[in-house]
């Protein structure tokens, strides 16, 4: 009996000490994005809300959310998404890889706030996380051309 208890205790100790790799989703935590306006046909300006442990992480999430919305849709406002439903379904692995690679998605988006926070756009949530609203510009024209060149989406140009 004693050895059995010792075995259970050892098992518990080992399981407690074993490291579990935390699953980090490549997708934005927040997908609350509002389209503000079209920028000279080259991109869209969005108000994107991000969620994170601090301001920097929340801003990071907001930038990702804006690119996500530009590609996949789902935001509010009049901006058109780059990918349609079929393209989204057929390229799930590409989308996951794309948003897993910071250098990949971040080249199409920039914050217009230059490190500042607009009034009333930083909220601490009940779980302690920060929700941050950032005005960003997504270079949708450039993003579309890249996706077309990689064969992810079909060209909109009339041949």
């Amino acid at each position: 009996m004693k050895s059995y208890i010792m075995f259970l205790f050892g098992l518990f100790f080992l399981s407690a000490c074993s490291s579990t790799k935390e699953f980090i989703s490549p997708y934005p935590v927040s997908k609350e994005v509002t389209c503000i306006e079209n920028i000279s046909g080259k991109g869209y300006k969005y108000l994107a809300w991000g969620i994170g442990e601090d301001n920097a992480k929340a801003e990071f999430d907001a930038l990702k959310a804006a690119v996500w919305t530009a590609m996949m849709g789902g935001g509010t406002g009049d901006c058109v998404s780059i990918m349609n439903t079929t393209e989204r379904e057929n390229n799930k692995q590409f989308i996951e890889d794309f948003f897993s690679n910071y250098d990949e998605w971040s080249q199409y988006v920039r914050s217009t706030t230059e490190g500042r926070i607009d009034a009333d756009r930083r909220i601490r949530l009940a779980d302690g996380n920060i929700k941050l609203g950032v005005e960003v510009i997504v270079e949708t024209k450039m993003l579309r051309e890249t996706l077309e060149a990689r064969g992810i989406i079909t060209s909109m140009k009339i041949q």
Binding site: E37, S40, N55, R116, I117, R122, I123, A126, I137
Partner: protein, 554 residues
């Protein structure tokens, strides 16, 4: 003395309680919208002869870059006065809808209303005000195309920031050498939110659809002194009366000062408080307000964090208090920030800052001083070597004048309560009980330094000292003519935006008193055998508590 400590304990408990109650408040916005103001002075029939003085004062108000001004022609203001004589307000319920409607009707009929709307709604004026309202250079399609015009919603917001201040003068009465002007102050806000008809050519809203509401009322009173040489007096520093009015009759001056007091009421109104966002906390605290909004050195800001609970309800939580030490010049550089230093609490980027203007600091200092009043003086039965007491000071923060943080100048009055003893009245020769108090008054200069939420202060003081001895046989002696000069240092801890409590110690040198009054009449000294002032020393080391409370702006 025990009662004094109880009072201090009560103040401490009250301040801690009030700070904790401030933790959960309504939602405070960090969005600053420029306000435009118009002063429309009127007077009741009995003092209508001051109408021209009031109108003149409305054109000669201390301008602040914080506001835009919608100026109204004199003829319209005169017509408003004429129409005002025909209406009767309910002064007991000054902010009633009936009063609001009556004033609105008079404003419309006099043409004041239309002129205000034309002034604030003019597209060029709106564009200029919009530019002044911007916090940073906006990157957008319109800015790329070099079009920086407000949207319809932004125009409406600016128009809703239009306020009309109506000082109603009701009496001007002499009082001793002074004159007192009294009446009511009313602030009306215009609201274009529900306007449906806009003129297609002028882009102005149909004024019949503009809604009005009374946002603040107060009974106002100003006291004006007859000094004609005010230019040379210290009071010039503290009032905003133009120098060119000093030669006017005192009653006219009081009517004019009453008109200007409407702006002091504005300082207390939540609608007029400056609002901004904390943008940096790495090198001081930086907020996106500056010279354009009339931010000044040592202006206080209450800081809030916007929070959301599980039910998505927003609330603002009061997290700290800061003061400005360097005003950013956002007139020449739109992105310039003002920097501040923390007083209380903690700060993070994105917190909301709301101005909290203060005026004088009232300081109560219970003290213990080592003095020397020997029995050989003939005033007391045994040697007195210490004096518990209390000093009250009123300190004025000179930052607006000197641009230096936390430099105060003020006046003080102190009393020391010495242990009562029985002794022989030097005049009557009878043995009686006595009450002995020391008194001092003078001026003081204090400089405070803030470090890590602690306030270190050093000060100098200079004044006159004396002793008052009341014998129970009815004879009262005043020992006077002692001049004192000294210094002190201390440390204070903030308990709220307005309350500081700490300790201080100092030394004051006081010369030997030279004069004696008996029952208000000077008696010769030396030459009065019963009293010897030589051994009296009212100076010495001083220790004490320091309780400082900042009064709100007025």
């Amino acid at each position: 003395m025990k009662n004094l400590y109880l009072l201090l304990l009560f103040v401490l408990a009250f301040s801690i309680l009030s700070f904790s109650q401030q933790s959960d408040t309504k939602v405070e916005s960090g969005v600053f919208t420029r306000k435009s103001i118009t002063i429309v002075p009127v007077s009741t029939g009995n003092v209508s002869n001051y109408s021209q003085d009031m109108i003149a004062a409305s054109y000669d108000i201390p301008y602040s870059p914080r506001y835009d001004y919608n100026t109204v022609d004199q003829s319209h203001l005169e017509e408003m006065q004429r129409l005002f004589n025909g209406i009767t307000l309910d002064y007991k319920n000054l902010n009633s809808m009936e009063n609001c409607e009556k004033l609105r009707e008079a404003l419309v009929q006099s043409g004041v209303f239309q002129q205000v709307i034309a002034s604030m709604g003019n597209i060029d004026s709106l564009n200029a005000r919009f530019q002044r309202n911007q916090k940073r250079i906006i990157t957008s399609a319109s800015s790329q195309m070099k079009i920086e015009a407000p949207t319809i919603e932004q125009m409406k917001t600016l128009m809703n920031g239009c306020f009309i201040g109506i000082p109603i003068l009701e009496s001007v009465t002499p009082n001793s050498d002074n004159y007192i002007a009294e009446g009511d102050l009313i602030w009306i806000r215009l609201d274009v939110s529900n306007v449906k008809n806009w003129d297609l050519t002028t882009h102005l809203p149909d004024y019949n659809e503009i809604e009005c509401s009374i946002v603040k009322t107060e009974h106002g009173k100003v006291v004006v002194s007859p000094k004609s040489d005010k230019t040379s007096s210290l009071s010039t520093l503290f009032d905003d009366e133009p120098v060119n009015e000093y030669t006017l009759k005192i009653d006219s001056r009081s009517a004019r000062q009453f008109t200007r007091s409407i702006l002091k009421l504005a300082l207390t109104m939540d609608e007029f408080k400056l609002r901004g966002t904390v943008q940096d906390v790495t090198d001081g605290i930086r907020i996106d307000l500056g010279k354009r909004e009339d931010v000044y050195v040592d202006q206080g800001y209450k800081v809030y964090e916007l929070r959301m609970d599980e039910n998505n309800n927003k609330k603002s939580v009061y997290t700290g208090f800061m003061r400005i030490d360097k005003v950013g010049d956002n007139v020449t550089n739109e992105d310039a920030l003002s920097s501040g230093y923390p007083i209380l609490g903690h700060f993070e980027q994105g917190f909301i800052a709301k101005s909290h203007d203060q005026s004088f600091d009232l300081v109560v200092t219970p003290t213990y001083r080592l003095v020397s009043i020997p029995a050989s003086s003939g005033l007391v039965s045994s040697d007195i070597n210490s004096s518990p007491g209390v000093t009250v000071s009123a300190l004025y923060n000179t930052s607006k004048l000197t641009n230096m943080t936390q430099l105060f100048i003020g006046v003080y009055y102190g009393m020391g309560f010495l242990s009562a003893s029985s002794t022989t009245d030097p005049y009557s020769g009878t043995v009686t009980t006595t009450t002995v108090t020391t008194q001092e008054y003078g001026i003081t200069i204090v400089k405070k330094f803030w470090m890590n939420n602690l306030n270190f202060l050093i000060g100098i003081e200079s004044g006159l000292h004396g002793i008052e001895i009341n014998f129970s046989d009815g004879n009262d002696y005043q020992i006077k003519g002692a001049f004192g000069i000294g210094g002190y240092a201390g440390i204070q801890i903030p308990f709220s935006a307005d309350l500081l409590i700490g300790l201080q110690a100092g030394y004051v040198y006081v010369s030997t008193p030279t004069e004696i009054d008996l029952n208000g009449t000077a008696i010769p000294y030396p030459g009065f055998d019963g009293i010897n002032l030589d051994g009296i020393n009212l100076g010495g080391l001083t220790f004490g508590l320091n309780v400082s409370y900042s009064l709100p702006a007025f």
